[in-house]
Amino acid sequence: MYRRLLQAMAAHATLITLSIVFLLPFAWMVTTSLKTVDVLNAFPIVWFPEEITFSNYVDGLQVFPFPRYFLNTMIVCAFSMLGAVLSSSFIAYGLACIEWPGRNVVFVALLATMMIPFYVTMVPLFSLFREMGWTNTYLPLIVPHFFGGPFFVFLLRQFFRGIPRDLLAAARVDGAGELRIYARIVLPLAKPALAAVALFQFLAAWGDLLGPLIYLSDSDLYTLSLGLTYYSTQYSTQFGPLMAASTVILIPVIVLFFLAQRTFIQGITLTGVKG
């Protein structure tokens, strides 16, 4: 009894200590967003201001059209997320759950494309999208995600390979088609991994600056990451409003993570299957 209590206390102590370390960047961002210019310029550094201001929030969020950029960003995030989850899981099923000779070829080709740095393929890729008339639309930021990201395919392949073969074989013996096995057995079992893919793609699209910068020219289509650059002139950055906007932009992400994280720990409950 005591031992369990001690163990729990030790665990909490460790977790709390680590939490302080991991909270630093966020806490820094939030406190900075509440500082006046005087406090920002203070020396020695003021970590926790005695005087705080909310004007960074009130004013800072008017510098760029926040609601519009928020909506634009959500559109890109939502569709690219949908594409990533659907296509990556579909492809990963073909790589992990079906025994066929070509699967390693496809897998290796996908992995190989990850190894080419983006900066040397950026110009031909831009030309390609321009030829198709896709520049100044969201298509370059969304459509490719419907054809499988290598990172996500690899991630899901690893999870799918953990699903018992017996289970798939039994379903096949029962006459279930591959599409049915994919949709009814594999997807539900891999929920934590799918949630992870959704989260990662959402965040990638949320934070992407280069893509929107290169492909979009109409400022009505701009995204939040471009909005965050509005605070920097050639000579200085207004840190207070920048941190305020960054904080506000982060809130939906934190909420999303908090809601999604329950899914990460929903086990595949293999025990019942293996039994």
Binding site: W28, I91, T121, P124, I163, F264, L270
Partner: protein, 291 residues
């Protein structure tokens, strides 16, 4: 068998179409550029292996490769250990886990421009939190980001903070470990270490392989933190000039896209070789619960 090939092709068809549609042309174009004097704005002119030959005698390239290898060698295993450690802690049955999980994930999502300034305050030789803490235990800390010998370790420490994504993957992976196996091992008298070694580790091994391979691939392209911390110069004294940064400088500052492409393909060859070696050495020890 034929049925399997059919369904295999059906399921991987999006990948095949995507590779042909969006990937093949840019990737092959960059391979072609690596044999040309392409400047991004002029038509490419074939110069054979000249870019690759130049690389052999380019001191900046060799030192950038060394910096990259150094950072990859330390940051990839460190990231895996930290992520797995956090995931294991979060998998214990203590209360408040949702909050802890969110907290540990926060550094991953705080914008780089926000955390960058904080890192300057942490690593500053005079005012930094880190050297302040060290001074309390009687240690005089180094100059970190202004000391050529300590800048790379500082970057590696920074990278360990942002392991949120890997932590989520490990956490999801830990859910695959059958509780009955854990209980059985415990009742057989296995200690926590032994249970970790023989029960937990095999089940997360596919994800460790994933982390290792994607860590290698990402590590060789790493350079965003260098921009945040040193403004992209590679200072102090070129000690943080990594290959990814050198490639970027060549493409967008020196207009040597042909040369940058050659760098990209040499890096590709190195990463591909390391990946094959990883699959050979580690891949066979990976335990897939399904098989």
């Amino acid at each position: 068998m034929r049925r399997n090939v059919f369904w295999g092709l059906v399921f991987t068809s999006p990948a095949i179409v995507g590779l042909l549609w969006f990937t093949a042309y840019p990737v092959l174009a960059s391979l072609y550029y690596s044999f040309t004097s392409y400047t991004m704005v002029n038509p490419p002119e074939w110069i054979g292996l000249a870019n690759y030959a130049d690389l052999l005698t380019d001191q900046v390239w060799w030192s950038s490769l060394w910096n990259t290898l150094y950072i990859v060698f330390w940051s990839v295993p460190l990231g895996i250990v930290v992520a797995l450690g956090l995931a294991l802690l979060l998998n214990l049955g203590v209360g408040g886990r949702p909050v802890y999980r969110t907290v540990f994930y926060l550094p991953t999502i705080v914008p780089a421009v926000a955390s960058g300034v904080l890192w300057m305050y942490i690593f500053d030789p005079q005012y930094g939190l880190l050297n302040d803490a060290l001074a309390r235990i009687g240690v005089t800390g180094p100059g970190w980001l202004s000391d050529p010998g300590w800048a790379k370790p500082a970057l590696i420490v920074m990278s360990a903070w942002g392991v949120g994504n890997l932590m989520v993957i490990m956490l999801a992976g830990l859910q695959d470990v059958p509780a009955t196996l854990q209980e059985q091992a415990a009742s057989d008298g296995a200690g926590p270490l032994s249970r970790f070694r023989h029960v937990t580790l095999p089940y997360v091994s596919p994800h460790m392989l994933f982390a290792l391979v994607t860590g290698l691939i990402g590590g060789f392209q790493f350079f965003t933190p260098v921009f945040v911390m040193t403004g992209g110069t590679g200072n102090p004294a070129g000690s943080t000039l990594v290959s990814g940064l050198y490639l970027y400088q060549n493409a967008f500052q020196y207009f040597k896209v042909g040369y940058a492409s050659a760098i990209a393909w040499v890096l590709f060859a190195i990463v591909a070789a390391l990946t094959v070696a990883t699959f050979r050495l580690v891949g066979r020890r990976v335990y897939y619960g399904g098989q």
